[in-house]
């Protein structure tokens, strides 16, 4: 292999693929990235057996070939080179990087030893904008379970339902659903994407309204945007039937300014954080919501103006869970629907049907 390429672009491309290599592995080859020079392209791939990230760039190929090079060392070196054209030549698994009057030699591995990158057997493609997928991940991923005894809940359900594409996360205490809508009927399909993979995808997705393409089969899912292809394994098993969990009716409905309730909850959580339970109490009155929290360090009492429909109620929550559900809502106002103080509440933006957050209360004695 022998190429001449631009330092800055190569450095960007390596940093993209590095996200799929792990420095923690004991398998040296998985610390490497695969680079393949062919025709006028350099293809760069990182793969940690869970997720693979592929990208490519235009280069001058003097001699075609491929090699696996330590991802961190290669990335660090290229990043520190002067912003100029650099020459990379591989002879006998030694990569020589030449620039100005200096040179680097790195011991590499043969590309034959690199694991085979998974390819999909799928025919159906779904399209969605970068920004839509970014906000779908942001509004749900915090509710992904970290409990490895329930493996399907360590990922998110990606569900296609006619004109709706949704991401769903559940961790046993709360459920977060974010959807976006398509013009045409897409039928029904679903898979479970690992939480870690969604985070990597989110970190690489640009913030704009261009579209990406999503494909999946029963083993892998593929996300393609710009010149990046991310392939992740999907999780085996059945996801919880989340629609059964959503209550059909309510007896108390509160409409409140998003920023006002969030500010009050965040202040109240300063004290609740000091107990293990993270407990805050909500007392719903005629036109006010009273938020209180007590610890051995002190007490807080907050009043927030609300619009009440239905009955008065006293209920308690883990403050962190309540804040996380509200924090990512853009809408100026939210509604919170309750039935009793032992049943889940439902939080939604007022002007939008694309987001639903369900949260279980904490049982407390009746004398709050």
């Amino acid at each position: 292999m022998h190429i001449v390429c631009n330092q800055k672009i190569l450095s960007q491309k390596i940093s993209i693929c590095q996200k799929a290599t792990s420095n923690k592995t004991t398998t040296d080859i998985l610390k490497g990235i695969l680079i393949v020079a062919k025709e006028n392209f350099l293809k760069i791939t990182g793969y940690n057996l869970e997720i693979s990230i592929e990208t490519s760039m235009d280069v001058d190929v003097i001699k075609e070939g491929s090699i696996v090079v330590n991802s961190r060392l290669f990335g660090d070196i290229i990043k520190k080179l002067p912003d100029t054209f650099i020459e990379i030549e591989v002879i006998n698994n030694i990569m020589c990087i030449k620039y100005q009057n200096s040179k680097f030699e790195i011991n590499c591995d043969s590309s034959n030893d690199f694991p085979i990158i998974p390819r999909l057997n799928s025919s159906k493609k779904y399209s969605i904008s970068h920004n839509q997928l970014k906000s779908m991940i942001k509004q749900t991923s915090f509710a992904i379970s970290t409990d490895s005894t329930k493996p399907t809940l360590t990922g998110e359900l990606l569900e296609i339902q006619e004109k709706k594409i949704s991401l769903v996360a559940i961790d046993g205490y709360r459920l977060s659903v974010r959807s976006c809508f398509n013009k045409t009927d897409l039928g029904y399909d679903k898979c479970i994407i690992p939480g870690k993979s969604l985070n990597e995808i989110n970190s690489l997705l640009p913030s704009n309204d261009d579209n990406l393409v999503i494909e999946f089969d029963d083993k892998y899912a593929l996300f393609k945007f710009m010149d990046i292809s991310i392939t992740t394994r999907v999780l085996d098993g059945e996801f919880v039937d989340y629609k059964k969990l959503l209550p059909k009716e309510y007896t108390t409905k509160v409409t409140v300014n998003t920023k006002e309730i969030l500010d009050s909850l965040e202040r109240a959580s300063l004290l609740s954080q000091m107990q293990k339970s993270n407990l805050i109490k909500l007392s719903i009155r005629e036109d006010k919501l009273l938020i209180t929290s007590n610890s051995d360090k002190g007490n807080i009492y907050e009043e927030v103006n609300i619009n009440l429909e239905g009955e008065l109620l006293d209920i308690a929550f883990n403050s962190r869970y309540l804040i996380e559900g509200i924090k990512n809502i853009q809408s100026e106002e939210i509604t919170i629907e309750f039935t009793t103080n032992v049943n889940p509440c439902i939080i939604k933006p007022v002007d939008n049907i694309d987001y639903t957050y369900l949260l279980l209360p904490v049982r407390i004695s009746s004398n709050i």
Copy 2:
């Protein structure tokens, strides 16, 4: 105590004094900050028995008084309040913070339990600009020793010599001296300031050319700037006689572009970091400096143009120490003076006499 004050200013003042409180201590009172309302001022003090930071602000004092409140909780609460005037009232060691229709109550400690803040017995004051002290700390503090068996070296020597004020740090491998110059003769005086205190001072010093005032006696040093007073204990004992360590002559002198040698050293250090010794080799030739480093991952060979005065030389250094000494030099060119490859080298900016960095080489076998 009963006051009304501005939320934003109070929040800033607390964050300044928090730097002198420790959350790691088991002594609850040291996690607190002392606040004293008197006349039209609120004075706020953090003190961890090593360093105290005092500042003050204008407030409406309805009733004078003082209290010690948990620094982190108080700071977090005030930071999250709406940007408005807030009322703080203390009754029976309970602080009540009122804003809009809400309130916080924090359990506090009596100000009688707070340790007594040290005061200096000094008459001599030294003046220096904020920016000068900031760069003096930045160019020397990385060479402070972390070896607690040599306590004086865990601080820096602050030395007044006629028209010169210097900071000196030594860690057994290198020595860094940065000076600034005064118009009038200041006589001779010195003390040793703990490294941690210098870092806190640096983090609070604004970047401008206004002057601060430094005072010290045999127990404490005081740094006063804006409305902030920082008092730190000084370290007992004699500092190393650093002037004896500086070589008087050289046999090889190299003049080199600062950015070029730094870039090359940083690339070479990518490989040297992979060995414990961090070793890089310098080969000084007629008009070139060759920098090489080898590890089991690969090799690097860098060429840098130089101006040579004197003899050719092969010498090796710990790359991190070499980089740290050069990194903070603003001057476009530096000189490096050598005698033999087992004696220290001296690095200085070309156009300035205010900075000197001495570094011991690493002994290597003669066949490099």
